[in-house]
């Protein structure tokens, strides 16, 4: 499956990978009674959040993330991950993502995947806002010659 207008798109891999993510979130919800929200679980795992999932559950989930990526990289002969060119850009991005996801109580997984599929008003609003902010930021970066 390819999209003629978007030669770089991977629609089928995207759908299959998305299903795996949705299955993961389903297991977290139906077996453990929780949202698979990576920002919240990360904060809980490192002890920045005092409430939320049992600490062990958060740590186990967070350890699973790179393990899963590692197995896929082994299985398909490597995974492409092209990062921004400068460490300072990564650092600024990381600071904003860390502070923003805690203030806004979630990220792409918690608000985006879990909250929107629950038809949560709060999550739909958050997702619309962070997506719009992302579009605007990249448009400004393009206009400024930063891409």
């Amino acid at each position: 499956m390819t999209l003629a207008a978007y030669p770089h798109a991977m629609p089928l891999s995207g759908l299959v990978g998305g299903l795996l993510i949705g299955l993961s979130a389903t297991i977290m919800l139906l077996a453990l009674g929780r949202i698979a929200g990576v920002s919240g679980l990360t904060a809980r795992a490192v002890g920045i959040a005092d409430t939320g999932a049992p600490r062990g559950v958060a740590i186990a989930f967070i350890i699973g993330l790179p393990l899963g990526a590692f197995f896929v990289a082994q299985a398909i002969g490597g995974v492409v991950a092209q990062f921004p060119p400068s460490a300072s850009r990564l650092a600024v991005a990381g600071l904003l993502v860390g502070y923003g996801t805690r203030l806004g109580s979630g990220c792409t997984s918690g608000h985006g995947v879990c909250g929107m599929s629950r038809l949560s008003r709060r999550s739909i609003a958050a997702t619309a806002i962070f997506m719009s902010a992302g579009f605007a930021t990249v448009a400004l970066m393009r206009a400024g010659g930063w891409l």
């Binding site: 978007y6 993961s24 993502v97 860390g98």
Partner: protein, 136 residues
């Protein structure tokens, strides 16, 4: 132990999904946000693929008296819109655009590109810590 194994397995599936879908590539995520460049719609397919099973899961959840492997559902409220949510989402979105990274792919990428992902994750944890200190 069972719960930890379930959580580890769920994390593993999540990380595998991110890597397989191309979402572990910050350049690809940034290309989704790049409406005026060479736009890459892959992220939309990932969201659709992830939300389909979750929509069913929410229907099942309403019929379950309790989760299958623990005692209670511990789920956030869904209605309150406040300034914190709006400002937080804006800051997150700006950071997401600058780096092409959100928390899941950043942590998963520790296995693929440890130096770059580690730089981002450390900054992210500092940002989270800064929120904890200032949000009292």
């Amino acid at each position: 132990m069972t719960r930890l194994a379930i959580a580890l397995f769920a994390g593993l599936l999540f990380g595998a999904g991110l890597a397989f879908s191309g979402m572990s590539d910050p350049a690809r995520v940034q290309a989704f946000l790049d409406l005026f460049g060479s736009w890459d719609p892959t992220l939309a397919f990932v969201m659709a693929g992830a939300m389909a099973p979750m929509a069913l899961a929410w229907l099942l959840q309403q019929r379950l008296p309790k989760p299958l492997a623990c005692d209670t559902f511990d789920l956030p409220g869904t209605t309150l819109l406040d300034r914190r949510l709006v400002v937080g989402a804006i800051l997150f979105g700006v950071g997401w655009g600058i780096g092409g990274l959100c928390p899941g792919p950043a942590v998963a990428d520790l296995a693929v590109a440890p130096l770059a992902a580690g730089t981002f994750v450390i900054a992210m944890l500092i940002g989270m810590g800064a929120h904890r200190i200032t949000a009292k």
